[in-house]
């Protein structure tokens, strides 16, 4: 195995595309090193992107924030601006692993790991976040929602590296929230999760909504019908019931050591309902 601390995104992309063997990109490393330890992968090349200038920075951009791919989630959580604008995205990112893991793990890494249960991903997808990628043929932008391809797989092409993620601007009355279910209070992988992002109209009803579920299908799921169910409402009980039902209908989970199909389906609806209420309150909505 070779270790390369790339000095530029270009160097990283070129090294990755030139390598014929197995490669891994090292940002926080909290998934990659676990894979190394367990022997799941034996890379020929590891490219550490943390020494690329600017890649560990958070920069305001067009009313939103550009989050460098190597920004540890603990740093993200300490950024008052991002927390105020996208609290749900940050709470998802901050739920990953322990305090120790938070000191290393990144949203981009969570996305590239390809797990349908990644805690950072539903919030990013609900936020319509855009990833910026450096690849052998240059730079491109890609909605975060289009990156997951299945358990452990992404749509990234060989040699492509995410260098940053843009959290867009949002209107005045907007809020988001993320909830997951785990058996303990910490340290588990989500058994089911839900992110909800809402914008309210001037009348205080929901004008736009995006509901995203995690851990209930091979990738995170954007549940259009669940979002639609909230439009024009103040989240009364009947609307929340329709939201939960739409979420349950969108679930296509597996039975495994972490949860059953029935449990994941049921809790996905519950979490979406609870997350919607939190997002609504954050947006300034009142019932």
């Amino acid at each position: 195995m070779r270790y390369l601390a790339a000095r530029s995104a270009r160097e990283a992309a070129e090294a990755l595309s030139a390598e014929t063997g197995v490669t891994r990109i090292l940002a926080g490393g909290t998934d990659v090193l676990v894979q190394l330890k367990s022997g799941i992968v034996e890379p020929d090349l590891i490219v550490d992107i943390k020494r690329i200038p600017g890649i560990a920075e958070i920069v305001p951009e067009a009313g939103g924030f550009r989050i460098g791919a190597a920004v540890p989630n603990a740093v993200l959580g300490e950024h008052a601006g991002v927390v105020a604008l996208w609290p749900g995205v940050v709470e998802g990112a901050n739920l990953i692993g322990s305090t120790q893991v938070q000191g290393r793990c990144t949203m981009a890494g969570n996305l590239c790991n390809g797990s349908p249960a990644g805690d950072a991903v539903p919030g990013l997808v609900a936020a319509n976040a855009i990833a910026r990628l450096e690849g052998p043929t240059g730079t491109r932008e890609c909605p975060v929602a289009e990156i997951p391809a299945g358990p452990g797989r992404t749509t990234l092409k060989k040699g492509e590296v995410i260098t940053s993620i843009l959290l867009p601007a949002r209107p005045e009355r907007a809020g988001d929230a993320y909830l997951r279910f785990i058996p303990r209070t910490e340290m588990d992988i989500a058994v089911a999760s839900a992110a909800v992002s809402l914008e309210l109209g001037t009348d205080g009803t929901v004008a736009a909504a995006r509901v995203v579920l995690g851990a209930v299908a091979p990738t995170v799921v954007v549940v259009e019908s669940a979002g639609a169910a909230l439009i024009g409402s103040r989240l009364d009980d009947a609307v929340l019931a329709r939201l939960a039902a739409a979420c349950e209908a969108a679930c296509n989970p597996i039975d495994d050591k972490r949860g059953t199909v029935a449990f994941r389906t049921r809790t996905a609806g519950v979490l979406a309902r609870r997350a919607a209420l939190i997002a609504y309150a954050r947006a300034g909505g009142s019932k």
């Binding site: 190394l36 590891i46 290393r104 910490e186 340290m187």
Partner: protein
């Protein structure tokens, strides 16, 4: 695999070592530098026994490559006491019987120190969540929380 030379500062002292590209910081600390205070309980970031700080940030040294430590400042349990004077956390852990077997203790002390540097006056719940990545199987955590709070109170008073 060709070894990589790494220059770091460990517990305030400059330190150079060679490590394999796939070698973790934990293995380098324990195997190459004789700093066996950090323990490997899992190797996958689930137990926290290998906790150290890297540039002031609490991490699991099993989830860091040795090569990544180039230019970094690392603090381990071995650097926590000031000479023969124990850190208040260390003292209170002994006085409150916050350790039984002691294998998780170095990691918990390093983590608790990082907490108190960030928040000198945490609630019990803050301490419990901060330390959720440090497994202890002997104590049921009760005396650990009490010891951290006693040390925090002393440090605030100082």
């Amino acid at each position: 695999m060709k070894s990589i030379p790494v220059s770091t500062t460990i517990n305030g002292d400059p330190c150079e070592f060679l490590c394999a590209p796939d070698e973790t910081l934990l293995d380098a600390l324990r195997g190459r530098l004789g700093l066996t205070g950090a323990k490997e309980g899992c190797g996958t970031g689930d137990c926290g026994a290998c906790s150290v700080t890297l540039n002031g940030r609490l991490v699991c040294s099993c989830l860091v490559l040795g090569a990544e430590a180039e230019g970094a400042e690392i603090a381990t349990i071995e650097g926590m006491a000031d000479g023969d004077e124990l850190h208040p956390l260390q003292r209170h852990f002994i006085d409150h019987a916050a350790l039984q077997c002691g294998i998780c203790t170095p990691g918990i002390l390093v983590a608790a120190k990082a907490l108190l540097e960030k928040d000198p006056n945490p609630t019990d719940e803050d301490v419990r969540y901060w330390l959720a990545g440090n497994l202890c199987r002997c104590t049921g955590y009760d005396k650990i929380i009490r010891a951290v709070q006693a040390a925090a109170a002393e440090m605030r008073g100082a």
